[in-house]
């Protein structure tokens, strides 16, 4: 590009019509045999300036392929078969390489899913951010730098000047995604393609990034093509939505209308699959808990040099002074963002990590200080279901062998008996007959998760730790697996410790909830109390950040729901415990106290005068 191009007028004429218009787009996947399978069929939509349109669908729906086709960034083997993609009236398929390069990153910006890998770790932020401006606008480095500073300020990076001279690893995922956004928007693109931009981020950070993105693009008049699997987020931010299933457009229209009055069967199914609050909510039976966690601390050693044999390793405390009870037959959800220590609690419970302090009692017996034989007995009573269905099954074993392994430590069972019980359990979780002899790679994600569940329950445990057990699944599959978990609980009566970041899932299945942040449990209580009457400001922020879609009472439609509960002052003489969960407020010293604010409802507080709490929301 020559240097004379003005900064504020990035693209060509045709400013009246839609920025992006896709007509009859077909995309195919070339197979090694030579034949082609269509993975996107007859996609039609257009986006006006300043509008946000969302492509929504489950995995394999072709949503990402459409977005990539716009930039002609399709993976090898995937080819456009027909139809047109027009950017401001210009057919993108006919562009020569030079013109396409001029558009990419200039008039059409892109934000990718993985903030951790989309910035080059070897270059300073300033160098990467100014790259586009220098290339496409011919700006000098200092002019480009000024423009970047401006943008970093607008995406609310605390210290923009320092940011330009920093390296990507110095920032968290949310910050990096903001930086990505800033560097993309610095070009004032007319079209922004955002492919699952916040999927890897925690709920609160996701809301911050999406708020900024929606606001900036509206101000700049940038059209946004949002690709997402998350209907709640789409409902909150996108004006129009295209619902895709296996490459076909199922429904298209204004987001509010599509949700309130879904026309297509698939849209209805998708909406019905969203987690919804279940009616029942058991209150724990008073008396002894099945599992009691008392003052649990877990430390992790930071990696040190292999030569430092003599030096004491530095440690990081992942869980600090956790107290939790799990009662027989109930579902306790542990909620928190990544790095909060929620997984560590679960792993300590099944003895995958050692605690550094505190006690875990199971049926009254201390399992942190028991011998090998007692531990073996305990392991039959406690089991775990893992998050990633693709790495939790040994790829070289048949399903029946995998499940039968769960019985290996049961005394006095012959090999035939083990296999028979394993096959029966596979049938129980919905994988009957010849599934037993298959290998994991022949199964879908949902089916694999069923195998994991079968393996975990085949020996008849008293409780299961489910670590993000449905997070990797599409909503329709997630719904089935959650239903299976509930059926099994009703039938066999075990308790669940359900570890998740997804408040929707919590609302559907939990009886009680524990909210954890950076190793500290901040609030525990019955599900309804937490959702209707959250006390700790962090819990409240978490609830407000999670967009939820609810069925309209008595109707077939749905609507986006804003969280309604209000901030409440802490008990007299206390302040809410703050160890970083309440930004901009003084940190609490010492240990938190769990104060009762309702039946079975506790919140972490610290001694102090409660004066300025109203500012916390």
């Amino acid at each position: 590009m020559n240097a004379a191009t003005p900064i504020s007028a990035p693209a060509t004429d045709g400013s009246k019509g839609p920025v992006l218009a896709i007509e009859h787009l077909d995309i195919g996947l070339r197979k090694p045999g030579g034949d082609t399978r269509r993975i996107v069929m007859d996609a039609n939509f257009s986006i006006a300036p300043g509008e946000m349109l969302a492509l929504v669908g489950e995995s394999g729906s072709g949503k990402t392929m459409i977005a990539r086709a716009v930039l002609r960034l399709l993976p090898p083997g995937v080819v456009p078969l027909g139809g047109t993609i027009r950017y401001a009236g210009e057919d993108l398929a006919r562009l020569d390489a030079a013109r396409l390069r001029a558009l990419r990153g200039n008039a059409i910006g892109m934000v990718f899913q993985e903030p951790m890998v989309s910035l080059n770790p070897a270059l300073r932020i300033g160098v990467q951010m100014t790259e586009g401006l220098r290339l496409h606008r011919g700006l000098r480095y200092d002019a480009a730098r000024k423009r970047c500073l401006e943008l970093l300020e607008r995406v609310r990076i605390a210290d923009p000047l320092a940011c330009l001279d920093a390296y990507p690893h110095q920032f968290s995922g949310g910050m990096r995604q903001r930086i990505m956004l800033a560097s993309t928007l610095a070009m004032e693109p007319r079209l922004l393609i955002a492919d699952e931009p916040t999927t890897a981020l925690d709920a609160i950070v996701q809301k911050e990034v999406m708020d900024i993105m929606a606001q900036l693009t509206r101000e700049m008049g940038t059209a946004v093509l949002l690709v997402s699997h998350d209907l709640g987020m789409v409902a909150r931010y996108a004006q129009r939505v295209v619902v895709l299933c296996r490459g076909e457009t199922m429904e298209m229209g204004e987001t509010g209308r599509v949700i309130a009055d879904p026309q297509h069967e698939y849209t209805r199914k998708l909406l019905a699959s969203l987690p919804a609050r279940a009616e029942r909510c058991r209150t724990p039976t008073p008396g002894e808990a099945l599992v009691e966690i008392r003052d649990l601390d877990v430390d992790f050693g930071k990696p040190s040099s292999p030569f430092a044999f003599w030096r004491k390793r530095e440690t990081f405390r992942a869980v600090r002074g956790a107290n939790l009870d799990l009662h027989a037959g109930e579902t306790l959800a542990v909620v928190g963002e990544s790095g909060s220590g929620k997984t560590t609690i679960g792993r300590a419970l099944v003895r995958l990590v050692r605690e550094s302090g505190g006690r875990i009692r199971f049926e009254g017996r201390d399992i942190t200080a028991c011998g090998r034989r007692e531990l073996d007995a305990y392991r039959l009573k406690s089991q775990m279901v893992f998050q990633d269905p693709y790495s939790s099954l040994d790829p070289r074993m048949r399903l029946v062998e995998i499940v039968a392994e769960g019985l290996r430590c049961v005394p006095a069972l012959s090999k035939q008996e083990r296999r028979a019980r394993a096959a029966a359990m596979l049938a129980e979780v919905g994988l009957p007959g010849d599934f037993a002899e298959r290998f994991p790679h022949e199964l879908s994600g949902g089916q694999r998760q069923r195998v994991c569940i079968a393996r975990a329950i085949v020996a008849g445990p008293r409780f299961l730790v489910a670590d993000e057990a449905v997070s990797a699944l599409d909503v329709t599959v997630q719904k089935q697996v959650l239903a299976l978990l509930e059926d099994l609980q009703r039938k066999f009566g075990f308790a669940y410790l359900f570890i998740t970041h997804d408040l929707g899932v919590v609302e559907q299945i939990a009886d009680r909830v524990a909210v954890i942040y950076r190793g500290r449990i901040l609030e525990t209580g019955p599900r309804d109390a937490i959702f209707a009457d959250a006390r700790h400001p962090y819990t409240l922020r978490l609830l407000q950040a999670t967009p939820r879609i609810r069925r309209i009472e008595g109707g077939a439609g749905y609507r986006l729901e804003q969280h309604e509960s209000r901030a409440q002052p802490p008990p007299e003489g206390y302040v809410y415990f703050n160890h970083g969960s309440l930004p901009g407020q003084p940190l609490s010293a010492g240990e938190p106290q769990m104060l009762a604010v309702g039946p079975n409802h506790y919140v972490a507080c610290a001694v102090g005068a409660a004066q300025t709490q109203e500012t916390s929301t």
Binding site: F309, D376, D394, A459
Partner: protein, 274 residues
């Protein structure tokens, strides 16, 4: 295996290895002439119908000596691979799976061994054990164990974090069972690839040691030794150098082609590019 055979390189590799193995087998069972006994009436005879590859300065049939040398080379290389992979994999798996200060100490020693040039170290070991097949095997195994241990350890380290390994631990399976049943078998692919590479290295190193007079002691034949003996007669009897030279290069080529094909087949990153 059938997929492997579709690769042309693999076919050539397998064919060359087959020739080498057949030659080695003949070296043990039957050779046209005795490879050791001198025949001073037929010194330095050029290749002919009677002596396919000619005879050497002692009148021994070069073809017979090649066959005999093949069995020595294959035996030494195979034993080397067996020992170094067996011991190296065990060290790698144990240190990778269990970790802790003991394994760090072991890896420190392994890394120190890795820093020695392998041939120099082999020379040192042979100086202790004496020049014999066993000496060569011990020396070469020692030099290759660190490489195997490193590769296996790296793989087991990442496999240990796999959820199916954790699942096995949660079930109450003994750690050693979990390691042997779930961690190590899933590291087999890189081990096999490494083993083929090692076979090639060992073949070459054995020849090199024999060439230096530190391998299999004369009068037993070995390819490297034959090459060494041929030096004085290169002008008048070039076949003495060409025959063992070709045998070494072709065997090495076969093993390497096969190893590359195996690696492409096992390594998913490479596979996508083919």
């Amino acid at each position: 295996m059938s997929r492997l055979l579709r690769r042309p390189n693999a076919k050539i590799g397998i064919a060359l290895i087959a020739v080498m193995l057949v030659a080695a087998a003949f070296g043990v069972i039957y050779t046209p002439y005795d490879p050791i006994i001198n025949n001073l009436h037929a010194r330095l005879v050029a290749p002919s119908a009677q002596h396919w590859f000619g005879t050497d300065e002692w009148g021994r049939d070069v073809f017979s000596r090649l066959l005999n040398g093949a069995s020595v080379s294959v035996f030494v290389s195979f034993a080397t691979v067996l020992f170094s992979v067996g011991i190296g994999a065990l060290i790698g798996a144990l240190t990778g799976y269990f970790g802790g200060w003991a394994s760090r100490l072991v890896m420190l020693v392994i890394d120190a061994l890795l820093a020695f040039p392998s041939l120099i170290m082999a020379l040192g070991v042979i100086a202790v054990f004496g020049a014999s097949s066993i000496g060569v095997i011990v020396a070469l195994s020692l030099t290759y164990i660190p490489a195997v241990a490193r590769v296996v350890r790296a793989n087991v380290l990442s496999l240990r974090e796999k959820e199916y390994v954790e699942a096995s631990r949660v079930m109450g399976n003994a750690e050693i069972y979990t390691m042997l049943r779930h961690a190590l078998p899933n590291a087999v692919a890189p081990i096999i690839v490494l083993a083929t590479a090692l076979f090639g290295w060992a073949l070459l190193a054995e020849s090199a040691l024999s060439f230096l007079g530190l391998g299999v002691p004369p009068p037993a034949s070995s390819w490297g030794g034959m090459l060494a003996d041929s030096r004085n007669y290169v002008g008048e009897a070039p076949w003495l150098a060409i025959a063992p030279g070709l045998a070494i290069s072709l065997s090495l080529l076969g093993v390497n082609l096969f190893g590359d094909a195996l690696r492409d087949e096992f390594d998913p990153h490479m596979k996508n590019l083919v």
